[in-house]
Symmetry: C2
DNA sequence: TTGAAAGCGCTACCAG
DNA sequence: CTGGTAGCGCTTTCAA
């Protein structure tokens, strides 16, 4: 890798003239401005408690600019014993535009509160291993999407490493951490209740064959099951890859199953399935009622127009405030809040 | 809550916030194991050049486990003078599933090479301000999506702060940095050439009214213009919000324009426009030929099936290797590589 | 108003 | 084989 230059020995013998290619430090700025490192720090951080003469300030600033000095965040937070970093492990499941917007808002709100948001890609790690990797960065707060399967152990690791707020966003609360519940069972339940109210007794549930989506599809299925059982209706799982052939195979056996309602996982799978059923000569909603999720524009463009479940996320602002509050007063008991609202948008397909 | 009444006589004054929850350090581990901090470091890092007896190793590891010790990444990289962090400012424009997959691959490949990928949310910052913020983190490499408008100044800042590789991913090369060109003009040109070959002389270009998408739409338009001018064909911009009403307005005036071909920005906008034109009684491709972009599944489900431009990104593996090579041998002259391949997928809509 | 110096947590020298 | 120790770049207290 890197050849380690014997700089220590060199510097001991040679006057303190640093190598040309090294990164400028505050000491370099101080030397150039003819002041001490302390003064540099005071000037560049605008410390109000210390009064520095205007000429000195100018000299320092100029020296910093000329050298292209940039403070070293790691050194700073090491000294401070605290960083302002909010760590957000990047979700491993692909996320939709809805979540993307929510996240952008969240990030923006946090940076308004003077935090630094860092998304950390922890591919392949899960549970406590991931928690260890995150803890090395000493974030002041961690917002962990549920797919990472952070457990009570992991939460403890993070807290012991100095994280003042640990917040999970996912299907269930984790001991010791604040929890923003995003329970996709609600989505399934919402769709199923609509279908049941329409008189459906045999409900199909599309299950994408993409492993990454199981994180969403399983809870949605569970939600459908709950509602269906309560009403004495049947539920059938329908594995479906996101390809025409797979949908065609499903459609070919459709009549055998006698399904009068189908929950299509989301609007895109709904579109795929709808096309296949139409090719098979089946009528929606007469033969089978269909419900999607996400309220995409494409649902309005389909014929019949697609009934769908809209998910309502709260503003990123709110989440940012929760983070900030918790960082400032870490003592409080864990908050558990339901984050996910659902609204059924009825259209022609059901 | 464990209070550790640890009177260190040598510590004259107490640093800020020491008393509360003290995070265990390697010194704590050393004390508990009855060895020196150096030994702890050797054991936990498996330094091969130093031989430590097995009982000592065990004692150290056990002490670390009991205390829940996690090394402090910032302190480590401060000491090392080098981190293994690859900084990737998160793209501000919304990205599709295609890019998402590419990025995941890239991240995975880098972590195989023992780098740590960090996505840094620099909302609101652009150009040199962003570069300054990134430089504070002292990443060993920066991979900057084009939308951040990193300039030669910014590249210089990053390099002076110790970044050994600066790679831009975007429409044009920046002086001093490696460039992976992703020039969306290619996309527009590819679509336009197809339409021209089909005999189109008056080509409409859908321009999404979403500011964030201008980053893609402008170059694509430019690409269409280039191809059209070369062939003496006309080009008309068609502003379109992603809503039915907006598409209906466009469709209502469609006949006046006499467009015989339209480049619809992407498959989703194509679907929207196609529905509106159909409602207006226009026939595709007879009246107007249509081309989308992205080769989404939905394009195959439409009737007529949608002609589209498929973009081919290279494997994330390749990019990861470029990063690694550059970090190890930073001297080389900047590489400029065209990243974006395009393939036209002809279907029924053109 | 400015400077000297301690020390944040860690690792890599060199001595024992 | 293990321990002492210097110092990475920065901030901040205390002293001048």
């Amino acid at each position: 890798m890197v050849q380690i230059p014997n700089e220590q020995a060199t510097r001991a013998q040679v006057p303190p003239q640093r190598a040309a290619h090294s990164v400028p430090t505050s000491a370099d700025v101080a030397r150039r401005a003819g002041v001490s490192r302390a003064t540099v720090s005071y000037v560049l951080n605008n410390v109000p408690a210390v009064r520095i003469s205007e000429p000195t300030r100018r000299r320092v600033r100029e020296a910093a600019r000329e050298l292209g000095y940039v403070p070293h965040a790691a050194a700073r937070s090491l000294r401070a014993g605290q960083s302002r970093m909010v760590l957000m492990p990047s979700p491993s499941a692909p996320v939709g535009a809805l979540y993307h917007r929510f996240f952008n808002e969240f990030q923006w709100a946090l940076s308004r509160l003077d935090y630094t948001v860092v998304q950390y890609g922890s591919v392949g790690l899960s549970g406590d291993d991931a928690a260890l990797a995150w803890a090395e960065l000493r974030p002041v707060a961690v917002v962990a999407p549920g797919a990472h399967e952070l457990g009570p152990q992991g939460v403890a690791i993070l807290k012991r490493s100095g994280a003042r707020a640990v917040i999970t966003v996912g299907p269930r609360a984790v001991e010791g951490a604040h929890a923003l519940l995003v329970d996709h069972r609600t989505v399934g339940r919402c769709a199923a209740e609509h279908l049941l109210a329409r008189g459906c007794r045999r409900i199909g549930v599309v299950m994408p064959e993409l492993t990454a989506l199981e994180f969403y599809s399983r809870p949605r299925l569970a939600g459908v099951r709950e509602a269906a059982e309560a009403a004495g209706a049947e539920v059938r799982e329908l594995p479906l890859a996101y390809e025409e052939e797979s949908a065609a195979r499903l459609a070919a056996r459709w009549r055998d199953w006698g399904l009068d309602g189908v929950f299509a996982f989301n609007d895109e799978y709904a579109m795929l399935l709808m096309a296949a059923l139409r090719d098979e000569g089946l009528d929606i909603p007469a033969d089978t009622a269909m419900v999607g999720v996400d309220d995409l524009v494409l649902g309005r463009l389909l014929r019949p127009r697609l009934t769908t479940v809209r998910m309502d996320l709260p503003s990123g602002q709110e989440l940012a405030e929760l983070v900030d509050r918790t960082v400032r007063h870490p003592g409080g008991s864990p908050v558990v809040r339901d984050l996910l609202g659902t609204t059924l948008v009825p259209r022609e397909s059901s």
